[in-house]
Symmetry: C2
Subunit: 406 residues, 2 copies
């Protein structure tokens, strides 16, 4: 599953352009706050949304627009989430209308997203004023500007792309994402917009996206809070000229592998840039009874505030790993759990058959002082595996979230 | 349900004495690390344990000893959890034997607890040496020493007692507890030992305790981590001379109300002393479809890292409350949620029918700057209610847990 990463992100695939501008939703004039992504033709499209019962208005509108499996553009603002406001859906529809008019496409073919503070009513004036400049700025180079425009507390923009072959044609799949408190209701929604020039039928696109999200975005936790506006959307415009993927053949598998590679890279980037994070944490569980058990165990460890705090302190506190496995809800024989910490600096085996073993605290400190830490958990219950990603819990997380609105 | 609080804790009830000494499990000589509680006669006894699959050895031994519904003493150390060690159960049984020999009672009538670091093997020598002094120190005044001896990262000892009447006899129920990262695998297990001189049949005692724990200890979250060693144990020795409670009559209801009052007071004290906490948070949910829905919603809010961080910053970020209700798993009509923040400084209504309303940020800051904050959530789905307790998430939580072992 290792396709070459190529430069660019959401505009790397043929037929896609993008732009990002400051339109005035945010007061800081140097911060872009409105992003647009356009396909030069209607594209098969699918999206996966937050499971929070409180769903942002843009999601409800996007769900309606994607009912026919087709989209041609994405419009997304940062600054205000357009959620829990009485007029949210009207405003989200209006954003699509304004965009459709400027581009000469159907409003029904537009994916709309918003990220920012929950509650305030979204003002359309800045968006209305900004859209002409945004449309005029559409270009291949504009993908990076779009990536910036959707950022909130993110400290780096996230974009990546891979190239792969379907039926002898070179295809590209790439995307941009934002999310720092991965999954947080306020200024930190997780959004990811993916584009590909591969030709693939909408129902298969939807299935591939749903399955991939399960193993990637749904295995990411920065703080355990599930946002109201989380969205991962994917447009496939067929500009690569490949024989359209219409069944689950080898091409479909290739496409899925490329999609998974991009999503995994984006998830790792989101975890590494988690609010206040100093370390990227990856929890690999093997030997699980079922995939669901392996997932529960991996997510429980990556979500434990105590484990995350220990990683911040480079403390090989494996008891917290075992404890989190124990309360995860997974069916696990706790007497069969082994734990190893790994990083670029080496590895340290700390727990065998559910009990501590002698290890060098010095080695552990060295291993855990790296920026990327893997905690390897081997269960004795079966063959299932899962990986989850997250970050350490730091003073800065508290600082960022203790006083964000004011 | 308001019985008078009286002085003392675990020795307030007739027939109970206690002691706490430093025996040497912990290196700091000024920190008591071994506690003993004795009833002058065998008592009906019940306990509720962690739901973590990884269960500390002392819990397994206590479960066996309480199978007959009788106990006479509690022995508990701090410093080492005696969990995930190969010889844990043997060591826990040995602690009971040593205690039984010193007191001339049955080992099988002893409740054993441990709290501290997971993994290391418990050394019996300090306990063996310490028990004679501990037994010699047993007294009515020793309850406070026992409360100190079970503390780990707690900053204040927790004890309380109430008096009430059963069949014209004055009864007393009191207890001690520890737990700071309420529920944490390392140095922060939640332990609570309760005593009463009421006479009540063991099966009813067990039922009353289980039901009460559901509404009190199980509604407490400091960091969402469920310890391996959590235990709430209750001994009822009948020294008050009341007609034994053998059915669910008025006396049983009185007993339950007194038990709930003591457990609620202890839970509030544990939440207020949560690791790094600056504020006690109480989340009251009313209008829930079912009790389970109300509980899910209340616990989800109290457990949200983002909500907890906002409370640290005295930020009336009601969007985080709504978001946590939305992902709680509770059946909730999100368009029917209203939210009010309350404290000794007043109240501020911030959300109505799932949407924000205008409120004074100045008033909100004043309300939220108090030490005890109530977040009042009114749902529109039914009549069920639940209350959960927790604390804010602060720099100090991260500091305490980032580097505890070292």
């Amino acid at each position: 599953m290792d396709y070459p990463f190529i430069d660019g992100g959401v505009t790397a695939a043929k037929g896609f352009t993008a732009a990002g501008v400051h339109c005035g939703i945010r007061k800081n004039r140097s911060k872009r706050d409105l992003a647009l992504i356009l396909s030069d033709r209607p594209a098969a499209a699918a999206a996966v949304y937050t499971q929070n019962l409180v769903k942002g208005a843009p999601l409800l509108v996007t769900q309606r627009h994607l009912a026919d499996g087709t989209a041609q553009a994405v419009i997304c603002n940062s600054g205000i989430a357009n959620t829990c406001a009485f007029d949210g859906e009207d405003k989200a529809e209006a954003m699509c209308e304004l965009t459709a008019n400027a581009l000469g496409i159907e409003a029904n073919d537009i994916i709309v997203g918003s990220t920012g503070v929950i509650g305030p009513s979204l003002q359309l004036e800045p968006i209305e004023k900004g859209i002409p400049a945004l449309a005029a700025a559409l270009s291949k180079e504009g993908g990076a500007d779009a990536a910036e425009a959707i950022m909130t507390t993110d400290t780096v923009k996230k974009e990546c792309a891979v190239s792969f072959e379907l039926g002898g044609k070179t295809c590209t799949l790439g995307g941009i994402a934002k999310g720092s408190g991965m999954i947080a209701p306020n200024m930190a929604t997780m959004l990811c917009f993916l584009t590909t020039d591969a030709a693939i039928a909408a129902p298969l696109l939807k299935e591939a996206l749903s399955e991939t999200v399960e193993d990637t975005f749904n295995m990411l936790s920065v703080d355990g809070d599930t946002s109201t506006n989380d969205t991962v959307a994917l447009m496939a415009n067929g500009a690569a000229g490949n024989e359209p993927v219409a069944e689950k053949n080898g091409d479909y598998q290739t496409f899925r592998a490329a999609l998974r590679q991009v999503c995994t890279a984006i998830v790792r980037a989101l975890a590494a840039d988690g609010e206040g994070a100093t370390r990227l944490l990856e929890c690999r569980v093997t030997g699980g009874k079922t995939a669901a058990d392996a997932r529960l165990a991996a997510k429980s460890v990556i979500g434990s505030a105590l484990f995350k705090s220990a990683m911040f302190g480079a403390d090989a506190n494996w008891g917290r790993v075992l404890c989190a496995v124990g309360y995860s809800g997974a069916q696990v024989d706790v007497k069969g759990v082994s734990v190893t910490f790994r990083s670029a600096a080496g590895s340290v085996h700390v727990c065998e058959k559910g009990a501590g073993i002698l290890f060098s605290e010095e080695t552990a400190k060295t291993v855990l002082s790296e920026k990327e830490i893997v905690v390897d958990i081997v269960l004795s219950d079966g063959q299932a595996a899962a990986t989850a990603w997250g970050c350490d819990l730091t003073y800065d997380y508290v600082k960022i979230n203790g006083d964000y609105r004011t």
